[in-house]
């Protein structure tokens, strides 16, 4: 029994220690920015591999690109000091800059990075492959003229302006070729190493990435535009929204993203916090499988468009997450057309169904990721469509299940979300209006429209024409035509709501400007003392 008395003693000591434990410190340090978010989808921090939003946000601070874009879509110089556009291509002049390793940034690194992107040939490569660059032609089209000059020839599928936009994404980040090559194993272009390390010239360097725990970025003191104001940026994985909210209130994090609508609402008019609604240029979409015997009929698709209570859902569910919009171009973009007259009209919807020969309605399944706000959106659509006689069976799943079903055309209805890859009509709309080969054999699972089996040769041709039109005014006219045609064809990829990513910031944080393509840079973020 001696063991028990000894045990009791130990227990008492632990109890006493607990009571005597000092209060934990609140508030994050003044020179460190702490961001709470979900890092569950971050699988790699190699810019020529990763395309997931959170990873992009981190990488855009580790690496520079030739050019950058502002939140409202202007192209700015970054590593390129200036550039000249001619009929055949673009010539970039690099500024003097160093990588965090101390190696100078040269045209050789730029060529290496673009070749690396296309030769690794992962999802990130789609950005340039889609417009005619590939692993076989990259060395012909991208050349180092001298140490400070890079020449990129146009492929026959892109205009100079659109190419510049594509060069603003993190996939074209310029990496330190010397450093990366020193870590290459089995011809992997250093990918294994690069997933968890950084070799860039950006304002921060990667100190540590512990998956599902945190990412620590350290300021790059030698950054070409001067050292960032924050000595360190810590991105913490906080999977629970309620917990994230408590941490923000307590001051243990400065910025909270990935909050649920109800937690977000508590900050609506709370002193000391601000909500920033970052536009994504993307949409919450109702994808209908046009291979389904009901949904193949444009009248049925129109009936569905008239069977959803957009305004009601916007008010009760979407809140800060979305704004009703049925054209896949945000209303504030240049050349965006006004919304069509789709709204909840039960009579009209029923009439369209009976015209289509389905007076008594039918049943469909609706697949969605079990995630705010899409899961609530699914329930609302179910209630809405029940009124017109379409019975919906909701099937929830995790991300990979739902995406796999989408890619395999294995669904009736599905709620995906999109984002714009560049802030203009083409950037947000192309994925809704281009499907070069609808055949099952084409297996073009990366194409959003193909997944819905929606055959749109005319619209595809028009989209291709617009993307090759060098004259801005003529291109604008084509943009308008594209949108009109999209609406006329009663889309099988029906945009429901323009998508926003709301985040909450402590009012101590200044200079944080959320970028629509998650290219938010943090070098100018500061923290101020509050009372």
């Amino acid at each position: 029994m001696k063991h028990f008395s000894k045990g009791l003693f130990v227990g008492a000591v632990i109890g006493a220690l607990t009571i005597a434990a000092p209060l934990s410190q609140a508030a994050t340090p003044q020179d460190q920015l702490v961001v709470g978010t979900s890092l569950a989808q971050v699988l790699s921090l190699d810019p020529q591999q990763a395309t997931e939003g959170k990873a992009v946000e981190i990488m855009s601070n580790l690496y520079d690109r030739l050019v950058a874009s502002t939140a409202d879509g202007k192209i700015l110089p970054q590593l390129a000091e200036s550039w000249k556009v001619d009929d055949k291509g673009i010539t970039f002049t690099l500024r003097k800059a160093n990588f965090a390793s101390g190696n100078p940034v040269t045209s050789k690194d730029v060529v290496y990075s673009l070749a690396r992107l296309l030769k690794m040939d992962q999802a990130a490569a789609a950005n340039l492959k889609r417009v005619g660059y590939d692993k076989d032609n990259v060395e012909k089209l991208v050349k180092a003229v001298d140490d400070q000059t890079v020449r990129i020839d146009l492929s026959d599928q892109v205009t100079a302006e659109l190419l510049l936009y594509r060069l603003t994404t993190t996939t074209t980040s310029v990496v330190d070729s010397v450093e990366v090559e020193s870590h290459a194993v089995d011809n992997d272009y250093g990918n294994a190493w690069m997933r968890t390390h950084s070799a860039g010239s950006g304002p921060f360097t990667l100190n540590r990435w512990s998956p599902n725990e945190l990412v620590i970025l350290d300021a790059n003191k030698d950054y070409m535009a001067g050292a960032p104001k924050m000595r360190r940026v810590i991105v913490r994985h906080v999977p629970e929204s309620q917990v994230e909210r408590l941490m923000l209130e307590r001051g243990d994090i400065d910025i909270a993203s990935a909050l649920t609508a109800s937690d977000l609402a508590t900050f609506q008019s709370k002193k000391g916090f601000a909500i920033q609604r970052i536009p994504t240029g993307g949409f919450y979409v109702l994808s209908m499988n046009a291979g389904n015997k009901y949904l193949a009929n444009p009248k049925v698709r129109e009936a569905i468009a008239y069977g959803i209570d957009y305004k009601g859902i916007e008010k009760t569910i979407m809140g800060p997450y979305g704004r009703a919009r049925n054209v896949p171009v945000p209303e504030n973009f240049e050349y965006a057309i006004p919304n069509p007259d789709w709204h909840l009209d039960v009579e009209k919807s029923k009439q369209l169904l009976s015209e289509a020969g389905f007076k008594d309605g039918f049943s469909l399944s609706l697949k969605t990721i079990a995630q705010t706000p899409r899961i609530d959106l699914a329930t609302a659509i179910q209630a809405s469509l029940a009124q017109v006689g379409i019975k919906i069976d909701i099937q929830q799943g995790n991300g990979s299940e739902i995406i796999a079903a989408h890619r395999a055309r294995d669904f009736d209805l599905l709620i995906p979300q999109t984002s714009a890859y560049m802030p203009n009509v083409l950037g947000s709309m192309e994925q809704f209006s281009s499907n070069p080969d609808n055949s099952k054999e084409a297996n073009n699972a990366g194409n959003f429209v193909w997944r819905s089996a929606w055959d749109i040769p005319e619209l595809t041709a028009l989209t291709a024409k617009a993307s090759m039109e060098p004259d801005a005014k003529k291109r604008g006219e084509l943009y308008v035509q594209m949108q009109k045609m999209f609406v006329e064809q009663k889309p099988a990829v029906l945009p429901l709501f323009e998508r926003f990513e709301p985040i909450v910031l402590s009012s101590k944080v200044e200079g944080y400007v959320g970028h629509p393509s998650q290219l938010t840079r943090l070098e100018n973020v500061t923290k101020v003392e509050t009372q």
């Binding site: 029994m1 028990f4 045990g7 009791l8 130990v10 227990g11 632990i14 220690l17 607990t18 434990a21 000092p22 209060l23 934990s24 410190q25 609140a26 994050t28 340090p29 460190q32 702490v34 989808q41 699988l43 395309t51 997931e52 040939d121 992962q122 999802a123 789609a126 492959k129 997933r195 968890t196 540590r208 512990s210 998956p211 599902n212 725990e213 945190l214 620590i216 810590i234 913490r236 994985h237 906080v238 999977p239 629970e240 917990v243 408590l246 941490m247 209130e249 307590r250 243990d252 995790n398 991300g399 990979s400 299940e401 995406i403 796999a404 890619r407 073009n444 699972a445 990366g446 959003f448």
Partner: protein, 342 residues
């Protein structure tokens, strides 16, 4: 107990290995037939089919399932759990990193629940149907029926956000990150070893709330069982004899009842400990605790089968091992078993 016990030991060990193999098969098969898509998770939603197929081949998912299984077994035989999709590291090194966090939490929880639950159960039995017994029963019932998730959030609201008594989610405050070199992986131990008392207190402030909440759920069970074991003993003749001899109630418990229920208690504690090690998933998510539970949940989300199978095997192994140890303890501590062995 020598001869028979060796055979018995061997038999139980064989049981353990067979169970483990069955567990492995089942997990593997379930994992491969689940409609998750690790390839999609890696290459991204917009990848073209060629890139998709290439990654599929790289992960070996294009092979028939039995070949995948043999390849996997072959890897296991060489101590290779495969590579995790999520981290790109060998699964074994991921688990080695995540396990200490869970181990630390579960161990602290089992210590707390033992040192509160056992005395509470004894007292409750001793003063049966008294106020204290009824209170203990209510406390146990609440601990057993209210989900850990709810306790976690409420605990954070009160003790973290409200009273500021404990640290928030995570193992440590952010500005202490990376200051302690991991040796055992247990932050409380490592910080003390390196003389970082400030970090020790900080880590303790972070672990105490999740540990207490986990302990509470386990304690409910321990209290209830201790109470019923003790009640059973209290009605035995030897207790009446001891009391008649003039031994005090407390003395009876201490010297006569406790040794008699010790064996059963060990089993209960082992089961609770096993449950804590594998059942901390919800707690780990609420408290952003980078342990096995969280690791496995994320692996499940993207269908990262290597991580899931390895994690399941580890957790299953621990559970079986604890059961096995409890069985052995039974044989060692139970005088009847010792007698039979002779």
């Amino acid at each position: 107990m020598k001869e028979l016990s060796v055979a018995e030991f061997g038999r139980r060990l064989a049981h353990l290995l067979v169970s483990l193999f069955i567990l492995l098969c089942v997990t593997f098969v379930i994992g491969r037939v689940l409609p998750t898509d690790p390839v999609g998770a890696i290459v991204g939603e917009l990848a073209d089919p060629a890139a998709y197929a290439a990654m599929r081949a790289r992960l070996g998912l294009d092979l028939p399932i039995y070949q995948q299984f043999f390849l996997y077994l072959n890897g296991l035989a060489h101590g290779d759990f495969g590579t995790a999709v999520l981290t790109g590291n060998p699964v074994s090194s991921d688990l080695a990193q995540a396990f200490p966090a869970t181990f630390e939490l579960a161990t602290l929880a089992v210590i707390i629940s033992t040192f509160v639950g056992v005395p509470l159960g004894l007292v409750a039995a001793l003063f049966r149907d008294s106020f204290i017994d009824k209170t203990a029963r209510v406390v146990a019932l609440v601990g057993h029926s209210i989900p850990v998730f709810w306790f976690g959030i409420v605990g954070l609201v009160i003790f973290y956000a409200g009273l500021n008594w404990v640290g928030g989610p995570g193992r440590i405050d952010v500005f202490y990150e990376g200051l302690v070199t991991p040796r055992t992986g247990l932050l409380l131990v490592d910080s003390l070893l390196q003389g970082e008392t400030e970090i020790f207190w900080n880590a303790l402030g972070h672990i105490i709330l999740p540990a207490v909440i986990l302990a509470y759920a386990a304690m409910a069970y321990i209290t209830r069982m201790t109470r019923s074991f003790t009640l059973e003993q209290l009605s035995q003749d030897y207790v009446i004899a001891a009391r008649a001899k003039g031994v005090s109630p407390l003395g009876t418990i201490w010297h006569h009842v406790l040794p008699n229920i010790a064996v059963q208690l060990i089993t209960i504690l082992a089961i609770s400990y096993g449950g804590l090690l594998e059942g901390a998933v919800v707690t780990e998510i609420v408290f952003s605790w980078p342990g096995i539970g969280q690791y496995m949940t994320n692996a499940l989300m993207i269908g990262d089968m290597n991580a899931i199978v390895a994690g399941t095997i580890i957790v299953g192994f621990i559970f079986m091992l604890l059961n096995f140890l409890a069985d052995v303890a039974y044989a060692v501590f139970d005088p009847r078993m010792r007698e039979a062995a002779r």
